[in-house]
C-alpha cells in the first residue's frame, strides 16, 4: 500500500469526523498501528478539529456549574 496515497485519499479526515463505517474504522486503526505517518496524520487532523471546537467555546451560565456541584455531592 502507498501510504502517501492513502493519506491524501481523505479517509483519515472522514475517520476523525466520525463518518467512516465500522469496517473502515478497523482498517484505519490497523494501518495507523503499522505506519507512523498515518498515525501522526490522524493526530494532526484530530488536533485541528479540537482547536476548532475550542475556538467556539462558550462559557455556560453559572447556574449550570452550581447544579453540577450539587450533582457531584450526591
Amino acid at each position: 500500500m502507498n501510504t502517501e496515497e492513502y493519506i491524501s485519499s481523505g479517509i483519515l479526515e472522514s475517520y476523525v469526523l466520525g463518518i467512516t463505517s465500522e469496517q473502515e474504522n478497523r482498517e484505519v486503526e490497523q494501518l495507523a498501528m503499522q505506519h507512523a505517518e498515518i498515525k501522526s496524520e490522524i493526530e494532526a487532523i484530530r488536533n485541528a478539529m479540537e482547536v476548532y471546537t475550542m475556538k467556539h467555546a462558550i462559557a455556560p451560565p453559572l447556574h449550570v456549574k452550581e447544579r453540577n456541584y450539587a450533582q457531584e455531592r450526591k
Partner: protein, 183 residues
C-alpha cells in the same frame, strides 16, 4: 476571567479525577466546560437543552473516568466524544426534521458568532493563533458532518452537491483548518 491557581497537565488532572478529588473536578469544569458547552450548543441549538446536556456529560465523565485510557487518546478527545455523542443522540431522539436543518445551522452560526466568546478561558491551549475563519462553504460541510452527525451522502443531498464534492470539501476544509491552527 478567573486566573487558574496552577496549571495542571492532563496526566495530573486525570489522576486527580481518578482519585475523585474535588480539585480535579473543579479544574475540569473550569477549563473544559466552555469548549464542551460550545460544541453541545452548536449541535442542539437550544440553550436549555444544551445546559441539561452539559450537566449530563459531566456526570458521564465523572462516572466513567476510571475507564479512560490515556494510550487511546487525549483526555479532551475522550470528553469531546462523550459530549458530541450525547448531543447528537439527543438531536436524533427529538426527531428533528431533515428539512430546515441547513437553515438552522446558518442561524446557529450567526447567533453563536454574536455571543461573546469566552476565549480567555482557553488561552492556555494556544487559541490566539486561530485568527481566521473557515470559509462558509467549508464551515457548512464541517458543521453537517462533525456537529450534526450527517453521513457524507446525507450532506450531499442536503447541500445538493455531488458526493465527490462533499469529499473534496471535507478534505480541503481540514487542510485549511490545519493551516489556521498550525497543526
Amino acid at each position: 476571567m478567573a486566573i487558574p491557581e496552577k496549571i495542571l497537565s492532563e496526566d495530573e488532572l486525570v489522576s486527580l479525577l481518578k482519585n475523585e478529588s474535588g480539585e480535579g473536578i473543579a479544574h475540569l469544569y473550569d477549563h473544559y466546560s466552555p469548549a464542551l458547552f460550545g460544541v453541545i450548543i452548536r449541535i442542539v441549538e437550544e440553550q436549555e437543552t444544551a445546559e441539561d446536556l452539559l450537566q449530563e456529560v459531566f456526570v458521564k465523565i465523572w462516572k466513567n473516568v476510571q475507564s479512560y485510557d490515556k494510550s487511546k487518546g487525549k483526555l479532551y478527545t475522550w470528553m469531546l466524544n462523550i459530549a458530541r455523542n450525547s448531543a447528537i443522540d439527543r438531536l436524533r431522539s427529538k426527531d428533528y426534521r431533515i428539512s430546515g436543518k441547513v437553515q438552522s445551522i446558518d442561524n446557529s452560526v450567526y447567533s453563536i458568532n454574536k455571543v461573546h466568546h469566552t476565549s480567555n478561558n482557553v488561552d492556555h491551549i494556544g487559541l490566539k493563533k486561530v485568527v481566521e475563519q473557515l470559509t462558509p462553504t467549508h464551515q457548512v460541510v464541517i458543521d453537517l458532518l462533525y456537529f450534526k452527525g450527517y453521513t457524507q451522502s446525507e450532506a450531499a443531498e442536503e447541500l445538493k452537491i455531488p458526493l465527490g464534492t462533499v469529499k473534496t470539501r471535507v478534505k480541503m476544509a481540514i487542510v485549511h483548518l490545519r493551516k489556521i491552527v498550525g497543526a
